[in-house]
């Protein structure tokens, strides 16, 4: 622990070391799937044989709804695009949306949660009531309404990515607010916050230096769960026709929507590949999130045999060691 302590304390790495058996298997499977997804997203131009909006090759047009062949590993779509290439490029679009959506919701949600929890008063009450109201509402409908507001419903690459990301952010912010607020309210009552106040530290410094740093332990978990939800929401928006135009970028949900009529005709290759891509990407990220969740909860954590390390015997009897949860001391 002492040698590579920084490395070992990184969120996912320390859980990987902590896990055993089935839980480790799930975490590793999740990491592998997510790694694949990231590789596809980052190396899309190298992996994909064609561009996402390419309609013709050297020997003329690809043709519509061609079955899988040597030139087109997974056939072509109704619109005459190469399915395999669009699946690979779709990872890139999904990754962009995840990054923007998660970054926006973490920043906004954490700030609001911090203000709400630390300052309290009427700001807190209003924010909590608003967050609860939004939280109880079907996320997809809210995302649809937000997408209408942002793009009016149809768009190119960046407007499309931003529309999807911001719609997802609107849905996520209440979750971050609730979680961070609950933590802040707990940490606020700790002695070190009180002593900081007694010394005369300004409110801003207490909030960001003392409270915030100790209130973020559950964030990696929510980030992973929300990242997978972001993929699903993006695909659902695309499926309902709020996707990104096929000429601007590849998007899995849009392609699935176009394949509804193919399925009735027995054409499987336009529907299954983008769908599987969504499932695998969501599955990978969800497996990581689930494992983090189980490992953070001592009731659910599978334990190594007590004889292996003395520390585990202690961990088995004491609910949660503070450092176990990745808290900055």
């Amino acid at each position: 622990m002492a040698k590579n302590s920084l490395f070992a304390r990184l969120p996912v790495i320390r859980q990987l070391r902590q896990s055993v058996g089935l839980q480790r298997g799930m975490l590793v499977a999740g990491l592998v799937l997510t790694g694949l997804f990231l590789l596809c997203a980052l190396l899309a131009p190298l992996i994909a044989p064609y561009a996402y909006n390419q309609l013709k090759g050297p020997d003329g047009n690809f043709g519509a709804q061609q079955p899988p062949s040597a030139e087109h590993l997974l056939g072509t779509t109704v619109g005459g695009y190469d399915v395999f290439s669009r699946v690979i490029w779709g990872a890139q679009t999904a990754l962009m949306v995840i990054v923007v959506a998660v970054a926006l919701s973490v920043v906004i949600g954490v700030l609001l949660g911090l203000v709400s929890g630390y300052l309290g008063g009427w700001v807190d009450r209003v924010l909590v009531v608003v967050a609860d109201a939004i939280y109880a509402f079907p996320t997809l409908l809210l995302a649809i309404v937000a997408a209408i507001a942002i793009s009016g419903g149809q768009s190119g690459l960046w407007p499309g990515v931003m529309a999807a990301a911001v719609s997802i952010t609107v849905v996520f912010v209440p979750q971050y607010l609730r979680v961070v607020r609950a933590e802040v309210v707990r940490v606020k009552a700790e002695a070190f916050v009180e002593s900081a106040r007694v010394i005369g530290a300004p409110t801003g410094r207490i909030m960001f230096r003392h409270v915030l740093r100790n209130s973020t332990r559950t964030l990696p978990l929510i980030v992973t769960l929300n990242a997978s939800e972001a993929i699903a929401t993006l695909a659902a928006l695309g499926f309902l026709g709020f996707g990104i135009e096929p000429t601007a970028a590849a998007e899995w949900g849009f392609d699935l929507n176009k394949s509804i009529s193919d399925v009735a005709a027995g054409i499987w290759w336009t529907a299954v590949p983008p769908g599987l891509a969504i499932v695998l990407a969501v599955l990978g990220i969800t497996l990581i999130g689930e494992s983090l969740n189980d490992l953070a909860d001592p009731r659910l954590r599978a334990r190594r045999r007590a004889s292996r390390t003395p520390a585990d015997a202690v961990a088995a009897t004491q609910p949660v060691a503070r450092e176990d949860l990745g808290e900055v001391q």
């Binding site: 026709g241 709020f242 769908g275 689930e290």
Partner: protein
């Protein structure tokens, strides 16, 4: 007055806030059920108000709905005339308060594309969505609860692993994709089940002629014709299973976590030391307290299902509220979208209210 109440109510919603609910309990005196119901009822008002406000202003950010729906198809002067006629050229705040007033009288606007009151859309298509959500809930309960208990009983052994992975798989698969795959396998390749729709054309005509509830199963039973009943049920299988399995995965996880949680309670140890068998421990002792969280999340799940219903209905051409919403979306009829979404907000708020009351009856600890 409102603020005083909200502090009391948000506590159960966010149980992590340690602001000593016990002290609050004492302060609120006898914590009578009647007071709880009243407070819960009044809390619906800000919830609906907030949602309707958010939806109204978000949709209006893009401009007026008439231009969105008909822009480019009508000459500019006719467009301006229709905008003026509908009052969309007035200040937004005036329109907002007028809209609030309309909602108070259950007037959710009139669609632009087919000039129908949104409330009529609900009456015509709501039954279909209600039917689908009910079927899906039955599937979710029938699959999620027993398998969640099995997973908890076989914790960390292979049945648990298999069940948890499939629960995550159900959750990870978007309903529209699982719907498409189910359709491909069971309808197109095997030919066992109908591809789409709520009933065959013949059945549909017969059921619509006899009038009735719009809930086809009830209508079909009312006709007494077994062929209709069979037809309606066969059409419901794939959509119900598709939507139900999504929630089943969530129920499974919840039951598993909670049964494991209650499994560590002293009273379980006590029962075990009396010689109660492991199977009976799960079935009789651990599972009942583990069901309470399910009742409390069911409100959220129903809200989720309404969202999932939009996608399921589109996939299976199940002509319900969600299918209609998707159709209005692609027609860019934002008045209809706003009306349907606002109506769903009211439905969700009322459902949550009912669920809270049911939860309070079942678990006395919920009452604050």
């Amino acid at each position: 007055m409102q603020y005083v109440m909200t502090t009391d109510i948000t506590a159960p919603a966010a149980p992590a806030s340690p602001a000593s609910p016990a002290a609050r309990n004492r302060r609120s005196g006898g914590s009578s059920l009647g007071r709880y119901i009243l407070v819960r009822f009044l809390l619906m008002i800000p919830t609906v108000l907030i949602l309707v406000t958010v939806v109204f202003f978000l949709i209006r950010l893009t401009g007026d709905p008439i231009t969105a729906a008909l822009g480019g198809r009508l000459p500019a002067d006719q467009l301006a005339e229709r905008i003026h006629e509908a009052g969309y050229d007035r200040p937004i705040l005036v329109q907002y308060f007028e809209y609030l007033g309309q909602i108070l009288t259950f007037d959710f606007g009139t669609t632009i594309t087919d000039r129908q009151p949104v409330v009529d859309v609900l009456v015509t298509y709501g039954g279909a969505t209600l039917e689908l959500v009910c079927y899906a809930l039955i599937v979710a309960f029938a699959v999620g609860i027993p398998f969640g208990m099995i997973a908890a009983a076989k914790r960390d052994r292979w049945p648990d692993a298999a069940l948890r992975v499939s629960a995550i798989l159900f959750y990870a698969t978007p309903v529209f994709f699982s719907g498409l795959v189910a359709k491909l396998i069971f309808s197109v390749w095997l030919g066992w089940l109908p591809v789409s729709g709520r009933a065959d054309v013949r059945t549909e005509v017969a059921l619509n002629r006899s009038g009735g509830t719009g809930i086809y199963l009830i209508d079909a039973i009312a006709t007494g014709n077994p062929a209709y009943i069979q037809d309606v049920l066969l059409h419901a299988v794939l959509p119900a299973v598709t939507l139900g399995l999504l929630t089943a995965g969530i129920f499974l996880r919840l039951v598993r976590t909670n049964v494991i949680g209650t499994y560590n309670m002293p009273y379980i140890d006590a029962a075990r030391s009396r010689g109660v068998g492991e199977g009976r421990l799960v079935r009789k002792h651990a599972y009942r307290p583990a069901l309470i969280p399910i009742i409390t999340v069911i409100g959220l799940q129903i809200a989720l299902m309404l969202g999932g219903a939009v996608l399921t209905e589109t996939t299976f051409e199940w002509k319900g509220l969600g299918f209609q919403l998707a159709a209005y979306l692609s027609a860019r009829d934002f008045v209809a979208v706003q009306g349907i979404v606002a109506m769903i907000a009211v439905i969700v708020a009322v459902t949550n209210f009912i669920v809270d009351i049911v939860a309070a009856f079942i678990d006395p600890r919920v009452r604050y």
